[in-house]
Structure formats: C-alpha cells, structure tokens
Symmetry: C2
Subunit: 420 residues, 2 copies
C-alpha cells in the first residue's frame, strides 16, 4: 500500500481522557511516516469530514500533541451527530467517501460510543463496495461504560474515580456538621440508562458507616417508602445520610424520578435535577435539613483527578487503532481485556464492529446489593482496578495547563457541503 | 504557670483545610509537654465543651494526627451554634468556665469565622473577671474569606482553586460540544454575602475566550437585559458561554436571584438552585441548550485539589495559636500578612479579637471589571497566590485515605448539661 492519510474524529459526549486516545493515535501514526502521511482530525467530529474541515495535526508540535494525554474534553471538537442508514441518507455517506478520496484518506479512526461504532462499521462496508477501501477502526469511549465485548470503556474509570472521591469528601463534610446542621446530602451523577457511574461511587464505602449510605440506580425501581425508611435508619445509625442518585433513577413505570409529580419546575424533559427532587422529598417526609449537588459536566471533565489506569487504557486503544489499521484490519475496535489472575491486569483485544454497534451493556443485577441500595463485593472487584492510580496534569499558577492547539485546517478541495 | 490543658474546637461550616489547622495545633502542643498537658478537642465544636464531651487527642497516634493535615472537613465535628451574649445566656458561659476549670483547661483555641472569634473574645474577658484566666486564641477559618485584618482566610484558597479548576475543565467540555449541542453552562458556587469564591473562578480565564465568560457576583445587582445580551455575544464570539454564578447573586432590591418570580419550586428559603434558574432564563429567552452544575459541599471538601499555600497557612495559624497562648497572649488571632514584594510572600501576624469579631470583609468593587461580569487584574494579583501549589493526599485503592480517629472521650466530672 502506498502512503495514505489518516482521519481521526471524536464523537458524542466527551470524557476527561478521550484526548489521551487522540494522543495515542497521533503519536503512533507519527512513528509510521513511511505508511501514514498526514493525520487529519475532524473539526467537531464527523461533521468536520462532511464540511471538509480537516485539522492538519502535522502542524501541531510534538509537545502540543504530548499534552493531549493530560487534557480533558475533545481537543478537536466533538459532536452529537448520528449518521442515518445508507438507505436513508445516501448523500452523507457519499460525501464522506468523496472527502476521503479527495484527501487520500485510507484510514478512518472513529472515537466514540455505540452509535459511532455503528457508523464506522457502515463506512467500512461502503468503502469496500465503492472500490475505495478504507480501514475503519473504532476507538471505544464513553463515561457510560455501556459498550459490549470490552471489559470497560475508556472514560469511565475517571468519572468513577471522581464520583467516589467526591462523595467520600462531601460525606466527611456532612459527618462533621450533622449534629447541629445538615443531615442529608444528595449527589446526582450521570448515567441515563445504567448505574455504572452511580455504582462506582460505592467504592467510597470502605468501612461500615462510610458514605455513600444509599445509591439509587436506574436498574432498581424507586420505592419511596423503602427509601425513606432507609434514610431514616441511616440518620439514626450514623447521624447523617449521604446519597448518590443516578440521573436515570426511575419509578416502577419507567418514568424518570424527577419527572414525576410535576416537580420539575421548568417543565423540561432535559434530565438533571433529580438531586433536589430527592432532597426535597426527604425534607417533606422526614424534616431533615439537606444539601444537594449536581456535578454534571464537572464529573466527566475532571482531568485533575483522572484514573491513571483509565488514561493508560485510553492511550492504548488509540495506539492499537493505528496498529490495527496498518495491519490492514477494518471494521474492528480495540477492546480492554481483563486478565484472569487475582492481581488486575489488562491487555488489548479486538472486537468486530458488528458485535459492538448499537448494543448497550447494562450493569448486572449481581453488582447491586440485595436491598437495591448499594453495591456488592463482586461489583467492587470489577470497579476497583479501574480507578487505580493518579495521573495529575501539569499546573501553572495553580491551574492545570491543558493543550492549546493551532487547529489549522487543510485547504479545501471540494464544493461546500449542504446538509439536506 | 504550671502545666495546664488545652481545648481546641472547630466551628461553623467546615473547609478542606481546617484539619490542617488542627494538626498544627496538636503537633505544636505535643512539642511543649512541659507546659501543655492534654490537648482536648470539642466533640462537635463548642457544644462538646458544654456537654463535657472532650476528645482526648493524646490518645491518637502521631501518624493519625499527621494525617489530619491532608484530611478535609472537621475531624472532631463542628457545629452551627452561636453563643448568645453573656447577659442573654449567663448559664452557657458559666458552664463553659465550669468545664474548663474541672479539666484544668487554661488554653482555649477556637477555629472558626467571625462569630467564633466573637465567642473566643467574650470567654477571654469573662475568664479574667472570674479569676480563672484562660488564654483564648482565635484561629481563622472560612471559605467565605470575609474575616477582616487577615489578608485571606485559611479555607478560601482551596475552594478558590477548586472552582477555577472546575470551570476550566467544564469549559473545555462545553467548548468541544458547542457546535452541535450544549451552548451554555452555568456553575453555581458558594458565597452568600460576598463574591470572593465566584471571583476566584475568574482565574481560569488566562486568554481571551477562556471560560468563565461571565461571573455573577452578589455585589453587582443582576440586570437581566444586560446579562442576556452578554450571553448572546459570548455564544456568537466563542461558540459557547460558561457562566459562574454565586449562590448569593441578587436582584436590584436585594432579593436572591433564585427566589424571584416564584421559581424556587420547593418554596424553601435555603439557597441553592440559582444555576438552574439562570440556565432556564437563558433557555427561555435565547433558546440555547444548557447544562448546569451545583458543586455545593463538593467545593469546600475537595481536599484532593487543595491549594498547597492554603494547607500551609492553615497549619501555620494553628501552630501560631499554640505559640501565642504559650506566650501568655489572649483575645488575639493569628493572621496572614502578605509581603509587599513583587513575589508573593506571607508571614503570621496578630489581630485583636475585638477588631475581628463580627466584621465582614467584602470584596472591593475594584476587583470587579467595569461591566460587572468578570474580575480585574488587581483581583488576579490578589487571588492568584492563594491557589498556588498542589498538596495531594495519599491514595489507596484509587481513593484518598483520610484520617480515621479514635475520638476517645475524657471521663466526665460534672453533671449532665441541659440546654435551656
């Protein structure tokens, strides 16, 4: 194969380590200058390919690229943009092929969740049909930890660490004040469909009485009476009650907790706000003084407290994606494979995109305690290695210094794209 | 003076470094065993003295005491309990004197904000009148940074660092998604009366376009029209708008922002929730997709990202308090004095409690930019040194390991206390 260019794009909600994958991609590609010419990154994800807005990463310095390893969020921009099926929107796929051909792009690396793996898979098939074969490799990324095949998803370990650290710290705060002040603290975390993130917060409980005392999972239908009883018993036993609630916590009928009873003051469907809802319910029923926090984007961008394991794995899947593509592979995704030994180990594996695309991996019931309010030892064994190690960014003037890229665009060769 | 015991108590809202002050107190006292017998800590603050619940810190190991330096919140418990005036509640003061006499306590160190300094001052005067002189020393502590005389308050630098780091990280998140998703992010921070914490978040703006783009201070009456115009112009210019809002942000008439227009869904006076209020206002008027975060206790307990300067200063005021008391001083508080040189330096000074008690230091108008939406260079010069340096706690299994104390109580000698 003659020298060709590589196109890399970030997709969907960002994480604090997705740029570590970008770093893995670019640094590895730079080691193979005989085979890979330019490494382009899509400006704002796949939309950058449609618009022919290709960031020429070769223009970035070695140190700028290295600093991506410790920079949160999407350095080239990401997007919420799902390509329709080829049948539904032929034009889009043909435009992508046109852009790839015009810029001699034979490697397509797509860094995202389930939807993105699906897109990469479709493009792989199409490129073969069109006689312009492109090696399409998916790179796993999602704080939601819901991709199948892989043991875990890069991005998850760091948000898991953030929530465990945060509830431990806030729990100590409440513990020290509960005698005369706040007795209940509610922290809302992400996870619309699955309780992976909420569950990881349970790692903060290392001894009887440690926060969090209650976790509300999307997987367990909310039982108001049982919940309030548990809150009361925690306050009685420990003096306070620290609660982690998943934004996806649901009622028996599948409706989101915060949407019920017309309590969402703004009438918006957008999630967020289940923490004040739960805190208020407790106040009304039990009379306890409360505080609540909604970490929102803070949790998925908190690179300052990223898991070193997560940073390493994110880098490794980026590196592996380039190696896979150079090996002539296509329609595959590097995965994290957990070793079977007692001591945690991991290596890179390989999954077919067709097995990954559009499949959600839910948290097993056996990870949730019998009463539905905490995690089991089996869950601890799964979660714990993923938050190991600290990988602090560089600080200057007391603030982390994150990558500032030039993001210089390649000269366009095609007509302007008009979305239909 | 013969050997006497020392009583230390934590008061009011805790911080991520108040235990560093406790560490400074106990470690220093342990170096003066010729003069100081036992170091007692009040269980849950001054209430512990009233109830004669005195934690015998001599029972704690050297390493447990050392670990207080990197443990957030109040290790001995704090309380929201303000003593009335001597005239109003003579019984309380006399009970305190009784407990101090019964346990030969001649040193009283009170670690808190303005109210606590007032209490310490009253006890100092009373002990002289009663002929059982006690050396009463205040130890400054408050995330609100509102104590007078001292250049800054231990506790503030760390929350300042947390908010600056958090808005930088979340800002990058929004920046990377704004082309196709969230355009406005609102982060609510503490500061009921003054904008010190909100202002410190402004340190994250190091270059044109950096988050935060807008800060809403309690000091600047909210102007809806001007604010919305500014949001719109930020989105136009930078693609997104990152906003920091103080929980104390106010309308022209002095009412809190989130209380206006009946938007507080729960009808509670308790603050918190101005972020969703502001986000919703923007959505309604400008139609932008938004996200919001309320850090609440996470910000003041975030020992994992504490300012090293703050940790050092918190320790130093604890140490100085013991030294002051051994030098026979009373009714004073160690302060932080900023050096006049270009390079930041600080040393310990001394303030009379009568000058500190019940005085709130507000943020000067000159720290806020002319348009009222950001901080000035003068503010940067003030804030920046306070967040310098990282002082990471020890981690085990990916989670910070914080002090676990025995908190063994001294045997009681008096009758049970009944609050009137």
């Amino acid at each position: 194969m003659t020298k060709a260019n590589l196109f890399y794009a970030q997709s969907g909600g960002v994480t604090s380590v997705i740029n570590s994958s970008a770093c893995g991609v670019i640094e590895t590609a730079r080691k193979h200058k005989d085979k890979i010419g330019k490494v382009y990154a899509g400006l704002n994800g796949i939309v950058g390919a449609l618009n022919e807005e290709l960031v020429d990463t070769n223009k970035e310095t070695t140190s700028a690229i290295a600093s991506l390893r410790s920079t949160p969020a999407g350095a080239f921009g990401s997007c919420r943009y799902k390509l329709k099926t080829y049948q539904e929107n032929k034009r889009e796929y043909e435009r992508l092929m046109e852009v790839f051909q015009a810029h001699n792009i034979r490697y397509f690396l797509y860094n995202g969740g389930g939807d993105s793996q699906d897109t990469a898979n479709k493009i792989a098939q199409l490129s073969l049909e069109k006689g312009f074969p492109i090696n399409c490799i998916g790179i796993p990324k999602t704080v939601d930890n819901d991709l199948p095949v892989t043991d875990n998803c890069p991005g998850f370990g760091s948000v898991a660490k953030y929530v465990a650290v945060s509830i431990r710290e806030a729990g100590l705060d409440v513990a020290s004040m509960c005698e005369s002040s706040t007795k209940v603290f509610v922290m809302e975390v992400m996870g619309r469909h699955a309780g992976w993130i909420a569950g990881a917060a349970g790692l903060a409980t290392e001894q009887e009485g440690d926060a969090p005392h209650i976790i509300l999972f999307p997987e367990i239908a909310f039982n108001r009476e049982k919940f309030l009883k548990k809150v009361k018993s925690c306050v009685k036993k420990y003096g306070y009650c620290a609660i982690v609630v998943s934004e996806g916590a649901q009622n028996e009928d599948g409706s989101f907790l915060a949407d019920a009873g017309g309590v969402d003051a703004f009438g918006h469907v957008q999630l967020g706000g289940v923490a004040p809802f739960v805190a208020n319910m407790i106040k009304d029923e039990l009379g306890y003084k409360y505080h609540w926090a909604v970490a929102d984007y803070l949790q998925r961008s908190a690179r300052h407290i990223a898991s070193a394991t997560d940073v390493d794995q994110a880098y490794a899947v980026g590196k592996a994606a380039v190696e896979f593509s150079l090996a002539g592979k296509t329609a595959v995704m590097p995965t994290i494979v957990r070793g079977s030994g007692k001591k945690y180990s991991w290596k890179i594996g390989e999954a077919n995109l067709s097995d990954v695309a559009n499949v959600e991996k839910m948290m097993p019931r056996k990870y949730i305690s019998r009463d539905g309010f905490h995690i089991t030892d089996e869950a601890r064994e799964y979660f714990s290695p993923l938050i190991q190690g600290e990988d602090y960014p560089k600080f200057r003037n007391g603030i982390p210094q994150y990558a500032r890229l030039k993001k210089q665009l390649e000269k366009k060769k095609l007509k302007k794209w008009k979305a239909s």
